[in-house]
């Protein structure tokens, strides 16, 4: 129980750090006012970095193109919008997403092209591996039936199990149409 709590706290910490990183410093905000043509003044777009409560025509439109008594009529026509963006968030998110897609693509290519070639050499390399990595042997509590307990063996075993699982899922969904038709 205590270790599951420890793991929970670890995961929570990672998530919080991640969130803080995402909502990072370079927060850009600006107010944009779009003013249409008025009498003999052409339309213009004004931008200024103001906070949300100052986002109105009077604060943003500088220099004011109309004389004082016309300001109110001019400002009624203008439309002001406040927006806040964090460019770092966007950059980090897109880069993370693309790297995940790239990693998946590479793994897919590996599974299709490289893996079948490696599989052929397996029966010959396994005994050598066992001798070299004997220091990496960790005590296994549940008694493994002698499958070898080096890191590579375990990764292989895990990968084989996962592949069998995905194959079964594929048969269920794509071939037998038992689920998710």
């Amino acid at each position: 129980m205590s270790s599951s709590i420890a793991q929970n706290l670890r995961i929570a910490a990672v998530l919080l750090v991640f969130l803080v990183l995402i909502d990072v410093i370079s927060l850009a905000y600006a107010d944009k006012c779009i003013c249409p043509p008025y009498r003999n003044i052409s339309g213009h777009i004004y931008k200024k970095n103001v906070s949300q409560k100052d986002c109105n025509c009077l604060h943003v439109v500088e220099p004011m193109p109309v004389p004082g008594h016309d300001v109110e009529a001019y400002c009624l026509l203008c439309e002001c919008k406040y927006e806040e963006r964090s460019s770092n968030t966007i950059k980090v998110t897109i880069i993370i997403y693309l790297s995940v897609v790239g990693a998946l693509l590479l793994y897919m290519l590996f599974l299709f092209l490289v893996d079948p070639l490696i599989r052929k050499h397996d029966p010959y390399t396994m005994p050598l591996q066992n001798e070299e990595d004997s220091e990496d042997v960790r005590p296994r509590v549940d008694g493994s039936q002698g499958r070898g307990n080096t890191v590579l063996e375990r990764v292989e075993g895990a990968q084989q199990r996962w592949k069998k699982q995905v194959q079964e899922q594929r048969k269920t969904v794509f071939d037998r149409h038992k689920l998710l038709s």
């Binding site: 998530l15 850009a28 009624l76 997403y97 493994s144 149409h177």
Partner: protein, 792 residues
């Protein structure tokens, strides 16, 4: 306990449906309390992740139903044990507090992760949708709107364009006008769309086939007690998130709301495996999944309350009050997380958030009700056509080429969508434009009204104006877009990529609503002296808001397809922030539900559940007058019930029985002569117990007598040692008499979540009714095919 702390190996090794590594590691053997030590201690250890899992994957087999009563009683036992131990020492007390809090911690984690993933999805979709048309040169990761917002070179005349963002043809050739440029843009658009969807379907096929589809029908079934191993696993989570972005960006007519519910439930499952309170108990796990579904809808629509109601109305099966409060918390945390990521820049959670407060008038209820009727009719049409197409995909050659099907549908969608500017952009942007009212500065064609040059009114109080030529051409294009979307969504929903249904339905409704709204607006302007308009619409006033009609239409169509009522209205008014529009939304939602129910009782999700034959016991009433004898097995022409006696069966007999039949459990009676019922034993428990006994206990051979009684039967000393299996016997199976009406039996199954029920007469065991029998009987009574029920 010797029976239960079995090394569960060998028997289940051939079950290829082993769960993912981490879930297995911490799942362990649910029955026993004396678990092997690696269950909780080495959870963080990579080497143990790679260990061979126990072949016994939890306590239930894949594609079986859980026993709700057993899960509930196990949870009560666990809680009582913790409470009694908490009085022993301070540390035990703290542990009991942590156990009580673990539920809230899980909700917090689910909210955080769902919000983060939704933010990532929103940002990535934004960028990749615009990638089909062009790229931002100043910063490659900006979408069109972000690129132009930060640029300083936009002019008033071209306020939607900017020089930093260039279309592909302009980038490659340097020209911006001309037929060749248009064709090049067209070609590249189609190419990008095909690339995205091909990538999506390949990833789904290679890594996680369970990630396709919407996910809501399967989650409904899972929450009603069904087990689908791997459906809420880590790979499914990863692949669904990644391919959802690709599928939506490819321009297909699908949404991301349904898949977001699946993603949120996967997050829920992920965090459940960290706490043994939830990972070992399937009933408690489903409470967490209900709350996670609420969080999913909350981030999809920015509607926390709507999310909770959606989970209550659509997705969950049992929804106790405790789950209500926890769902609300999870939804709130998720919405807050998404808001802090702020993917749309306006501190809103959804692209089509509108906020206007123009009032509506009683006379406008007539077009609103008409929109409701349209929504109901469209819902019926969509459900019938989509189910027919999915059935064709399931049974004919079409189902053999899923990748090709996705590519062809994407190609057709892209080729037909590009020429029409309303279908070229993403559906969310289309809905956003349709929902928004036209200020005087909008430059789109839809807002090409003839402005009075002397008018000087603030931008949100523009009076009704006559439509310019741009509006009429926009209406034509919108009508074409409506027909296109109605047709193409039928073929898109249900393909082998993550696909949701909410956004396309809302788009159809929004287009129809806007057309009706513009029509009413122009009628009110040009004929303001008619009686219907005279009372409430003065010339020079802002009477009709076409954007409101679009919202009402969207609600009507969504209600017609999914048959949601309260949750739909709450989601829509949380989307719009306008409490004054509740009455029109309700009117439309109720009308569309009535019209659609007149043609068929089921919404799209129930229809898909029926298509797949999931064992989902509906909440509808069973009103036929059949009795339990009519449904129970064995029937007259079937072999008699497979029974076990309490102290005269041998181990060999039991093994033969298990080998010859495939029943999930066996009743235990006093003897074959007087078939008085003692209890019920599960097949799985029998297999495991006998296997363990053969390995661990001395003297247990094939001729050993199996006894379910407390004391061993009187046998001579020379006979082999008897095997006591009382621990695995359920001494309180549910029984009904043979004259119990099926109405009551169905009610019992539904309310208690039973898997099987025994039928007795004057104490003698007659037969058994399983959930599958009940479902088949209900299907038969409704003249559907009883053989379509696939699962137990």
């Amino acid at each position: 306990s010797s029976v239960e702390s079995v090394s569960h190996r060998g028997i289940m090794r051939n079950a290829c449906l082993a769960t993912y590594l981490l879930t297995i590691r911490l799942f362990s053997s649910g029955i026993s309390s004396a678990t092997p030590t690696e269950e909780t201690n080495d959870a963080g250890n990579l080497m143990d992740f790679l260990d061979e899992p126990f072949p016994d994957v939890g306590t239930y087999e894949d594609f079986h139903t859980i026993d709700w009563l057993r899960e509930k009683s196990r949870d009560t036992d666990r809680h009582r044990k913790i409470t009694s131990k908490s009085k022993e020492s301070i540390w035990e007390f703290i542990k009991s507090l942590l156990d009580a809090w673990s539920g809230w911690l899980v909700m917090l984690l689910i909210g955080l992760l769902s919000g983060t993933l939704a933010g990532v999805i929103d940002l990535a979709v934004d960028w990749m949708t615009d990638l089909k048309e062009g790229v931002c040169l100043s910063a490659l990761w900006y979408s069109h709107e972000q690129c132009c917002w930060t640029s300083n070179e936009t002019t008033f005349a071209d306020r939607d364009k900017c020089p930093q963002w260039q279309k592909w043809a302009e980038l490659m050739t340097g020209y911006t006008e001309g037929a060749g440029v248009y064709l090049l843009n067209y070609f590249l658009y189609v190419l990008w769309a095909l690339f995205f969807s091909f990538l999506a379907v390949s990833l789904v096929r290679v890594f996680a086939p369970y990630a396709c589809g919407s996910g809501i029908p399967e989650i409904k079934t899972i929450l009603s007690g069904f087990i689908i191993r791997g459906y809420l696993g880590k790979w499914t989570l990863l692949i669904k998130t990644v391919t959802l972005v690709l599928a939506v960006s490819s321009g297909l007519s699908l949404g991301k709301e349904g898949p977001l519910v699946h993603v949120a439930c996967c997050c829920g499952n992920l965090f459940c495996s960290l706490f043994s309170k939830y990972s070992k108990n399937e009933g408690k796990r489903r409470e967490v999944l209900s709350a996670a579904a609420a969080a999913g809808v909350s981030v999809a629509f920015g509607a926390p309350i709507g999310g909770v109601l959606f989970s209550l109305e659509e997705v969950s099966y049992y929804f106790p009050l405790k789950t209500l409060w926890r769902s609300f918390f999870a939804a709130l945390v998720a919405a807050f997380t998404l808001r802090s990521i702020n993917p749309f820049g306006n501190n809103r959670l959804v692209l089509f958030y509108v906020e206007y407060h123009t009032p509506w008038y009683m006379a406008e209820l007539v077009p609103f009700i008409l929109l409701g009727v349209f929504g109901g009719l469209w819902g019926t049409l969509f459900i019938r056509c989509n189910i027919a197409w999915c059935r064709r995909r399931k049974t004919t050659l079409l189902g053999k080429y899923p990748v090709l099907e996705v590519i062809v549908v994407t190609g057709i969608t892209a080729v037909l969508a590009f020429p029409n500017p309303y279908t070229r952009r993403s559906t969310s942007e289309l809905i956003s434009e349709l929902f928004n009212d036209c200020g005087s500065l909008e430059s789109s064609q839809l807002c090409d009204y003839i402005n009075n040059p002397n008018m000087s009114r603030p931008v949100d109080d523009i009076p009704d104006r006559p439509a310019g030529p741009g509006v009429y051409s926009a209406l034509w294009q919108l009508t074409l877009a409506l027909v296109f979307k109605i047709v193409i969504t039928i073929f898109t929903f249900g393909m082998k990529i993550p696909s949701g249904l909410f956004i396309p339905s809302m788009a159809v409704g929004a287009i129809a609503g806007r057309i009706v709204g513009i029509a009413v607006e122009q009628m009110a302007y040009h004929h303001h002296d008619w009686i219907i308009f005279k009372n409430w619409c003065r010339p020079g006033a802002d009477c009709v808001t076409p954007g409101l009609y679009a919202m009402v239409g969207a609600a009507a169509c969504l209600g017609g397809v999914t048959r949601m009522t309260v949750s739909l209205v709450v989601i829509m008014f949380e989307l719009t922030g306008g409490l004054e529009y509740i009455v029109p939304l309700m009117a439309a939602a109720v009308t569309s539900k009535w019209v659609a129910d007149a043609f068929g009782k089921e919404g799209i999700y129930e229809a898909h559940i029926q298509l797949n034959g999931y064992p989902y016991l509906d909440q509808d009433e069973f009103t036929h007058r059949t009795l339990a004898t009519d449904v129970m097995r064995p029937r007259r022409n079937e072999p008699p019930l497979a029974l076990l006696t309490q102290d005269s069966t041998t181990v060999e007999d039991v093994e033969t029985l298990i080998k010859d039949t495939d029943y999930n459990g066996f009743p235990v009676v006093v003897s074959h002569e007087s078939e008085r019922l003692i209890g019920f034993v599960q097949r799985r428990d029998l297999i495991l117990a006998i296997k363990s006994a053969r390995q661990k206990q001395d003297g247990v051979v094939s001729n050993s007598v199996v006894h379910f009684t407390e004391d061993a039967p009187q046998i001579p000393a020379s006979n082999p040692q008897p095997l006591k299996l009382r621990r695995i016997l359920n001494l309180s199976p549910f029984t009904v008499t043979d004259h119990t009406p099926m109405e009551t039996v169905v009610d019992i199954f539904r309310k208690l979540g039973l898997r099987q029920c025994l039928v007795t007469r004057s104490g003698r065991l007659l037969g058994i009714i399983t959930k599958k029998d009940v479902l088949r009987h209900m299907a038969q009574m409704m003249n559907q095919d009883p053989e379509s029920i696939m699962f137990n």
